[in-house]
């Protein structure tokens, strides 16, 4: 029962948009401390544009849908988060084929997305970036699926790992982006990109809700 189709991907993206909207002010506050105070507004603008695309009738295959979403974010967001989130979805797309995929294939696509982000942003573990939330989340997801745990459980475990990774950015010295100009003054602040990334992982719960006819 872990087949993921375009409708499931759409639920994930809509849930992510809801979480971004609910946390816009928090993201801005975090970014005011160590960045330039625009992460909340930029992500909100981008995800509203994504929702508009979804409302306009989304693609029928997960890969096409993710490609649309990636292009929308790249062309609407600007800053660093546009190219990074856009690349994430654009690079997920080629890893998915057909109208439905299983959990393992979806996890592999998430991994491909993360690899795209790393290639684009040249982030390494502990740089205090979105990588620090996404990498432990996808490691946990892969391990849970390999253990044969149901997709819903595995996604929940991944979300916990993302939250832990996000929180662990607090004590780190930023080495990428505008926060890196602060050097040691970035210590004590959780990274805004890791925070929005943890929301992206939390939203994956929506991939498996609503299964079957209501």
């Amino acid at each position: 029962m872990s087949a993921i189709d375009a409708a499931a991907v759409e639920r994930w993206l809509r849930r992510f948009a809801e979480l971004i909207a609910a946390h816009e002010a928090d993201l801005t506050t975090l970014d005011s401390a160590i960045g330039d105070a625009d992460h909340g507004a930029n992500m909100q603008r981008g995800m509203q544009a994504v929702v508009a695309v979804l409302d306009g009738g989304a693609a029928e295959q997960p890969a096409d849908l993710l490609r649309q979403v990636g292009m929308t974010l790249v062309s609407k967001v600007g800053g660093a988060s546009g190219p990074l989130y856009g690349t994430f979805f654009l690079r997920m797309a080629p890893a998915l084929s057909g109208t439905t995929v299983d959990g393992a294939a979806f996890a592999a696509a998430l991994r491909a997305g993360l690899n795209g982000v790393v290639a684009r942003g040249r982030a390494e573990p502990g740089d205090k970036t979105m990588f620090d939330a996404l990498a432990p989340a996808f490691d946990t997801l892969d391990a849970a699926l390999a253990d044969g745990r149901p997709l819903a459980d595995a996604l929940q475990a991944a979300s916990k790992a993302a939250d832990a990774g996000r929180d662990a950015t607090g004590p780190l010295i930023a080495r990428k982006g505008r926060a890196s100009y602060l050097g040691e003054r970035s210590v004590g602040h959780v990274d805004p990109g890791a925070t929005s990334s943890a929301l992206l992982v939390a939203a994956t719960a929506a991939l498996v809700v609503d299964e079957g006819p209501a």
Binding site: V74, K76, G78
Partner: protein, 331 residues
């Protein structure tokens, strides 16, 4: 917030409309938000494209014209433009001789220009990029995003623009742009914060008696907060890290005192006088100079000082004719 605007979210759109209305030599794409020479692409000439977040005017749109940029992309205030804009502008100015992207070193700008350059390359346009990173306030190490691009961006655009106007090839123009960046260093100071229209309040608080040394052009923090001092001492504080970073003893330089948007020219002249005195004492000869507000940070009060080590070639390119709305001579 007191600003001459209609609505905070319309500032960039309305400013581009104003540029369009004021300057017949420029063409504005309002949909994709870029300003280009009306006569671009210029046959046989390498195209020069820059851009970035808005709020630094006259950079970049004010530097579009003969002898300088062919186009400039305008992002939201302090937010980089997106690849669609950059790609469209690249296409609009490519004569077949290729396009040089001049990018200030901020993660957002670098990533968006990089994506656009990849897309342009896929569509058969030859693109080279130079990343401007002249701000000595930021430690340049593996552990930062690297030095920020600030006022030397104007020098890169002017000198590379002159080289392109002479009909040099893309690789040569890119090499000259890189050389200008390599030989330039800047340091800035803020007396007040800027106010981003969408935020409606100052980005940071700075008491009457203090200044932020090593300020960036987006109100991001600098090296340290220090007591306000007479201009002579401020000039010392700005030049000390510049001279420590670039060996200029006995060299000819271009000295550029740049206002950050909220400082009157009379104060910039006071600062220039102090800069000139310090350089004379240090045995550095000012061969060329520029004083004015060109690379600004909205309404921030303060200034930056940029030194470029000159040689005969760079001096000749600096002196070459230029005709933009903000910089104009020899033509």
């Amino acid at each position: 917030m007191k600003k001459l605007i209609n609505h905070p979210s319309d500032v960039v759109r309305d400013a581009l409309a104003g540029i369009d209305a004021a300057y017949p030599d420029l063409t504005v794409d309002h949909e994709l938000r870029f300003v280009r020479r009306a006569d671009a692409p210029v046959a046989g000439k390498v195209g020069l494209l820059s851009g970035g977040g808005s709020g630094h005017e006259p950079l970049h749109a004010g530097l579009v014209g003969h002898g300088m940029l062919d186009a400039a992309c305008a992002g939201e205030v302090f937010t980089s433009p997106v690849p669609d804009q950059i790609l469209a502008a690249t296409r609009a100015i490519d004569s077949g001789a290729g396009v040089l992207h001049i990018v200030k070193n901020y993660t957002g700008d670098v990533l968006n220009f990089e994506m656009a350059a990849e897309l342009a390359a896929e569509s058969g346009i030859e693109v080279a990029s130079v990343i401007v990173d002249d701000d000595v306030a930021v430690q340049d190490s593996l552990y930062t995003a690297g030095r920020r691009g600030v006022a030397a961006t104007l020098l890169v655009e002017k000198i590379a623009g002159a080289a392109a106007e002479q009909g040099r090839k893309l690789a040569d123009v890119a090499a000259i742009a890189q050389r200008v960046d390599d030989l330039s260093r800047s340091m800035g100071v803020a007396l007040t914060s800027c106010t981003v229209p969408a935020a409606g309040r100052p980005t940071f608080d700075l008491p009457e008696t203090e200044m932020e040394l090593g300020i960036g052009i987006h109100g991001e923090p600098g090296r340290r907060r220090v007591p306000l001092a007479p201009a002579a001492e401020i000039a010392e504080q700005l030049l000390e890290p510049v001279l420590a970073d670039l060996d200029l003893a006995g060299a000819d330089v271009l000295a550029f005192v740049n206002g950050l948007g909220g400082t009157p020219n009379i104060e910039l002249y006071v600062m220039y006088n102090e800069v000139a005195a310090i350089l004379a004492k240090a045995g550095v000869r000012i061969a060329r100079s520029l004083v004015g507000s060109y690379v600004t940070s909205l309404d921030m009060a303060g200034c930056s000082v940029t030194l470029l080590r000159l040689d005969d070639e760079l001096t000749a390119l600096w002196d070459a004719p230029v005709q933009t709305t903000a910089l104009r001579w020899g033509r």
